[in-house]
């Protein structure tokens, strides 16, 4: 293969790694939005808590990768349900804005609470043996392979749950209509809790994988990554699960390409300018459908 093709394939691989972490977080945003039309601004911080769970489990308890990942996902899923029950459920009938502000408050609380408990950045021990394979000049590390394959697997699983199971059908029904669905015997509160649990569990998985790839974690890491994942969800069309995945891989690709061609400090600038233009041109996202407004 020529050098140019190798270079592009390598960059695509890097973009896939970044994009799959973004996708796992973006799914949580988009699922909650689809069901409650609420932006869960605390979601990026659930991702951060996931990374800290991973730190606790791996360095304090000395667990290996698989149990760490599973327990982290379980822990963040529980956290997601607790947040939903305590902070969001009482506000379901309130104006939308108070739910958004509460979410911002929950996010700040999680950040500063973690900061109060662990003021210094933490270093995650090596959970996986880092082997690098060389395929015709393209280098693929074992961590990269695990991140990409695992997140693709989780995404396929989620897609199956949402489109093929009765829980998924209930979720789609609630996002379609909130007035009559409870009358059909669908337990709305339970389904909403399950949605939060799934979203937060995926964020926990993303936190673990992020900690694998970038092993220094701090309480504010969730802000930037969370906002970027949120933007992925919007680019794909918020509320649309497949759209969130598409948006995440687009943003991952754009960021990697910017770093490849410009000084790396321009990454945020170019990425956000492109996103701004995209939203102006296609205000309802790539896979979203324009909603017709009636007076």
């Amino acid at each position: 293969m020529s050098d140019e093709v190798v270079y592009w394939l390598q960059q695509t691989l890097n973009a896939l790694q970044l994009g799959s972490i973004y996708a796992l977080i973006a799914l949580g945003y988009t699922m909650v939005y689809g069901i409650l039309t609420m932006i869960n601004f605390a979601h990026g911080d659930v991702f951060m808590i996931g990374a800290f769970f991973c730190f606790l489990l791996s360095s304090m308890l000395g667990l290996t990768f698989a149990p760490t990942l599973l327990l982290t996902m379980l822990g963040t899923a529980l956290l997601g349900v607790v947040i939903e029950r305590l902070a969001y459920k009482p506000l379901r009938q309130a104006p939308r804005v108070s739910a958004i502000i509460t979410a911002l408050g929950v996010g700040l609380f999680l950040e500063n609470f973690t900061l109060a408990l662990s003021p210094y950045p933490k270093h995650i021990p090596m959970l996986l043996e880092n082997v690098t394979w060389n395929l015709h000049g393209i280098s693929l590390s074992s961590i990269q392979a695990v991140i990409i394959s695992l997140s693709l697997g989780l995404m396929l699983l989620l897609d199956y749950i949402v489109h093929r199971t009765s829980i998924g059908m209930a979720m789609r029904a609630i996002s379609w209509d909130k007035t009559y669905v409870p009358l059909m015997g669908i337990p709305v509160d339970l389904i909403i809790s399950i949605t939060f649990a799934i979203g937060a569990g995926l964020a926990g998985a993303a936190g673990t994988m992020y900690a694998l790839a970038y092993p220094v974690i701090d309480p504010y890491m969730g802000i930037t990554v969370g906002w970027k994942a949120f933007i992925c969800a919007v680019v794909g069309g918020i509320g649309n699960i497949r759209g969130a995945m598409v948006g995440a891989f687009i943003l991952g690709g754009v960021e990697i390409m910017v770093v490849a061609f410009f000084p790396s400090t321009y990454r945020d600038f170019v990425a956000f300018t492109l996103l701004m233009l995209l939203i102006v041109i296609r205000p309802y996202g790539i896979l979203g459908k324009p909603r017709i407004q009636k007076v």
């Binding site: 804005v97 509460t102 408050g105 919007v234 400090t265 600038f269």
Partner: protein, 368 residues
């Protein structure tokens, strides 16, 4: 008795001389306090931060509360105003003319921010709701990233060694002037347009409200105020860097607005003041100084186990308080209501038509 007092209070509010007299007293105090050291330097500093926060909260309320959009870009406009003004005072203006040229620099900062406000205003013609929130967020990130990449203005290191030109009289002047401007805008023809956009944009368009003009001016006024607040802030803190103006700053302003209550100038003023004062009260040194009158057998254990840990935990207490306020008091302190004194005389009787979502139809709450 209470009815009589209320009558007297209403009479006082109707008095034409009330506002000028209050203003003169305020200006007198603003000049006298730093001149004769009536209050400690620390309290003066808090007063100035409170003034700047009031400007920010009132102007953000114009977009988020009255117009019903969700803007996160305020910290970005602040940054633009701050950097413009600082570049003017540090690199352009001669040192000799500072007391007189400083307001020009602040004004220029506001103008620069207002011009950039157009960048957000134009997409808002087409995009609404959550997608507009993303555009404002993207704007904030773009501004921050640009500043980090321009080495001439310090890049990520920021600018230090700014002269301390912000004084209490200037903060008082800008706060009064800008709050007055926003209030007049809200109760003008354009302000009615802003409210109609919040209620129903398509319907107001059909009722021949020029929604584009209205949004254009509302965003520009809001970002102008934010720019001026940024310029004042920079010359008070004497150090600016892109990190100061990130998303957490925007979140702070949002908290002030929603704590005070949307679509209420009085609410924003209360919210900003409360936020600033509470955050300062929770500082260990302030708390210790305030509680030092307690007998030592109460104070010592309190200081050891509670107050000395506040430095870290106050940032935990603050969002927790916000969540509790939202859960038990979702409208904030003054949501959709207004102090009677802020309403123009001709609108006082009709005020409850302006805020149709207000609960009490007889307008009784307006008299607070």
């Amino acid at each position: 008795m209470i009815a009589l007092m209320r009558e007297q209070w209403d009479l006082l509010l109707e008095n034409r001389w009330l506002v000028p007299i209050l203003l003169v007293i305020g200006f007198g105090l603003a000049f006298a306090i730093p001149e004769y050291n009536l209050l400690s330097v620390y309290v003066q500093l808090i007063l100035m931060y409170a003034g700047i926060n009031i400007i920010l909260a009132v102007s953000l309320n114009l977009v988020n509360g009255y117009m019903g959009e969700f803007s996160l870009a305020h910290a970005g406009f602040m940054a633009v105003g701050a950097y413009t003004a600082v570049l003017l005072t540090m690199k352009v203006f001669p040192v000799a003319g500072f007391p007189f040229l400083f307001p020009c620099a602040v004004f220029a900062g506001g103008l620069a921010a207002a011009l950039l406000g157009i960048i957000v205003a134009i997409p808002s013609f087409k995009v609404r709701g959550d997608y507009l929130a993303i555009i404002t967020l993207a704007f904030l990130m773009i501004v921050k990233s640009l500043i980090e990449n321009i080495d001439f203005i310090g890049g990520p290191r920021g600018i230090s060694g700014i002269m301390k030109l912000t004084t209490l009289p200037w903060v008082f002047f800008w706060t009064v002037a800008l709050v007055w401007m926003v209030r007049n805008f809200i109760y003008s023809k354009y302000g009615r347009g802003v409210l109609s956009i919040r209620e129903d944009e398509i319907a107001s368009d059909l009722m021949s409200v020029n929604t584009r003009h209205v949004k254009f001016f509302a965003f520009m006024l809001s970002s102008f105020c934010a720019g001026i607040a940024g310029a004042l802030f920079a010359h008070l803190l004497q150090f600016i860097s892109p990190r100061i103006f990130d998303i957490t700053k925007s979140t702070d302003i949002l908290i002030m607005v929603y704590l005070g209550g949307i679509a209420s100038i009085g609410g924003s003023i209360l919210g900003a003041t409360l936020f600033t004062v509470l955050l300062e009260l929770l500082r260990p040194s302030t708390m210790a100084a305030l509680l030092s009158w307690l007998p030592s057998f109460v104070f010592e254990p309190l200081n050891e186990h509670f107050i000395s840990h506040l430095g870290v935990w106050r940032m935990v207490i603050m969002p927790l308080a916000l969540i509790l306020v939202m859960l038990y008091w979702p409208r904030g302190i003054m949501g959709l209501r207004e102090f009677r004194g802020f309403i123009p005389r001709r609108d006082r009787e009709a005020h409850h038509y302006i805020n149709p979502q207000g609960e009490e139809p007889d307008g009784a709450t307006d008299r607070r």
